[in-house]
């Protein structure tokens, strides 16, 4: 009998080991898969921005986009991941109530020379978490990138991308997208899908840069009226936008915490980054409703496929902060409001003589804020954290959080771009802008048969 019990215990232990191993590798694979899905966002931005540029600037826009992605990876490794764990409670770097923040925690979990930030057979999580967050970071830079096309210097832009992607947004994430974040623990701020910490911060950072950068040559007439500067390939822009939406599924997948691990919030069900419950099913309802509401509203408002696809994206951003909470038809309405707001704000921005080439200030900045505030209107009262005595979600907390996100984006965007302007690193010379940036500084041509006189479409061998 004792032998049988011992054998059963050994079998149970082996089974537990196997289950734990399976859960660990499933969690690791889950976050791994968010990364290629989020790379689709960058494929989308690449296509979208090149399409939205005139043919003479298509490749220069592409270079800018690729560089933002490339430079954010190492710089986010150096500082961004550390900022996320060190600063949730503010600039004191003290530990928060959940015990997963502060200087000591950050040194252990995210020091760029520490054992967690490299190959480690005892840690299957840090690398894939870092990767997912690095993709969020690169997304912020891509959001900014499209607005600045056709007149910003590449290195000046890259510096701005590093500041936004590896410093600014991640500080906002520490404050409002972390269970120890002071906005969450004191105001009940809720931003499940990063409408504020990614979209609003990036959109308002972009606004600060646009003010210093100025409009493209020929955008505004002397009487203040604006000219439409069409991109050279609307199909490329539209496909890009759809790719961004496909990538959004990976982005939002990266916003949930897998169950059953030592770092998880619990067993058996996904949780939000705040530890509150969520299911992929709930998210699916609301993401799809968000897409639909935003696209339909933008169609009614503009009848323009560019704005319809932007509206679809705006619809998802509108519901992102409360994807875990909304009833799907409610999400549709919230997204439709976002789809209505977006073109109106884009028109206002243009009226202010700000040349936002792709409408990112409206789409990501203002609609991102709408997404944050909407949670306070439509989902107030839910506990913001899973812990006992947690603050509840309120309109007041969401509005304050939205203002913090807008200021946190705008101020550094304005200040850093102002400094770059003074150093002569922000804007390309007028002559280069008129000729086209591809011809000035790119060694190949986007469309050699059409743009380079004397270039034959057949090779000498043919």
């Amino acid at each position: 009998m004792e032998e049988q019990i011992a054998a059963l215990a050994a079998e149970l232990a082996a089974l537990k080991d196997a289950t734990a191993g399976m859960n660990r590798t499933a969690a690791e694979t889950f976050y791994w898969l968010t990364i290629p899905l989020m790379v689709l966002i960058h494929a989308g931005f690449l296509s979208y921005e090149m399409g939205a540029s005139r043919a003479k600037n298509a490749l220069a826009s592409g270079i800018k986009n690729i560089l933002a992605f490339a430079f954010i990876i190492p710089t986010f490794y150096y500082v961004g991941w550390f900022i996320y764990w060190a600063f949730p409670t503010g600039f004191t770097m003290s530990a928060g109530p959940a015990g997963i923040s502060g200087l000591d925690y950050a040194i252990a979990a995210a020091s760029p020379v520490g054992s967690a930030m490299g190959p480690n057979v005892a840690d299957s999580a840090t690398g894939v978490f870092f990767g997912a967050f690095a993709m969020f970071a690169a997304t912020t830079a891509s959001i900014m990138s499209g607005s600045l096309i056709e007149r910003i210097q590449i290195v000046g832009f890259t510096i701005l991308a590093i500041v936004l992607g590896s410093f600014v947004w991640i500080l906002g994430a520490a404050w409002g997208w972390h269970a120890d974040g002071w906005l969450v623990t004191t105001l009940g701020y809720h931003d499940f899908g990063a409408a504020g910490v990614v979209h609003a911060i990036a959109g308002f950072f972009t606004l600060g840069v646009l003010i210093n950068l100025g409009a493209r040559v020929g955008k505004f007439n002397p009487d203040g009226t604006a000219n439409a500067i069409s991109g050279h390939s609307m199909p490329s822009a539209l496909v890009g936008l759809m790719l961004i939406i496909a990538g959004f599924w990976g982005f939002l997948m990266g916003c949930v915490i897998f169950p059953g691990e030592a770092w998880s919030w619990g067993q058996g069900i996904f949780a939000t980054i705040y530890g509150t419950p969520v299911t992929l099913s709930a998210m699916t309802f609301n993401i799809l409703m968000g897409f639909a509401g935003g696209a339909i509203a933008a169609w009614v408002m503009t009848h323009d496929p560019f704005w319809m696809m932007s509206g679809a994206l705006g619809g998802i951003i509108s519901v992102a902060a409360g994807l875990d909470l909304y009833w799907p038809p409610m999400a549709f309405v919230i997204a439709a409001i976002g789809g209505i707001i977006m073109p109106l704000v884009a028109g206002f921005v243009e009226k202010m003589k700000i040349d936002d080439a792709v409408g990112a200030v409206a789409l990501h900045g203002v609609v991102g804020l709408w997404g944050v505030v909407a949670v306070g209107i439509f989902a107030a009262g839910y506990p913001a954290l899973a812990s006992e005595g947690a603050p509840t979600i309120t309109l007041y907390g969401q509005v304050i959080g939205a203002l913090v996100m807008a200021a946190l984006g705008f101020v550094p965007g304005y200040v850093v771009s102002f400094v770059l302007k003074k150093l002569g690193m922000l804007r390309v010379p007028k002559e280069s802008e008129i000729i086209g940036l591809d011809k000035v500084k790119v060694p190949i041509s986007a469309y050699p048969e059409f743009l380079m006189p004397g270039t034959s479409s057949t090779s000498p061998a043919e």
């Binding site: 430079f71 760029p112 520490g114 490299g118 005892a122 840690d123 010379p429 280069s432 000035v440």
Partner: protein, 54 residues
Amino acid sequence: MLIGTNISDWAAVDGAYYAGTGSEAIWLAISAVLCVLALVAGKRHEKAAYKRVG
């Protein structure tokens, strides 16, 4: 040996491991310097390109 490892038995590895003797900080510093140098080179290239146009 400048680059490589002293690990000769995977069974003995139960945590972090890295290639390269010395310190992780050296590689962190080298990669960061490379990023800065790339930006400096990029700035020089841009400046020369704009100058050619006038």
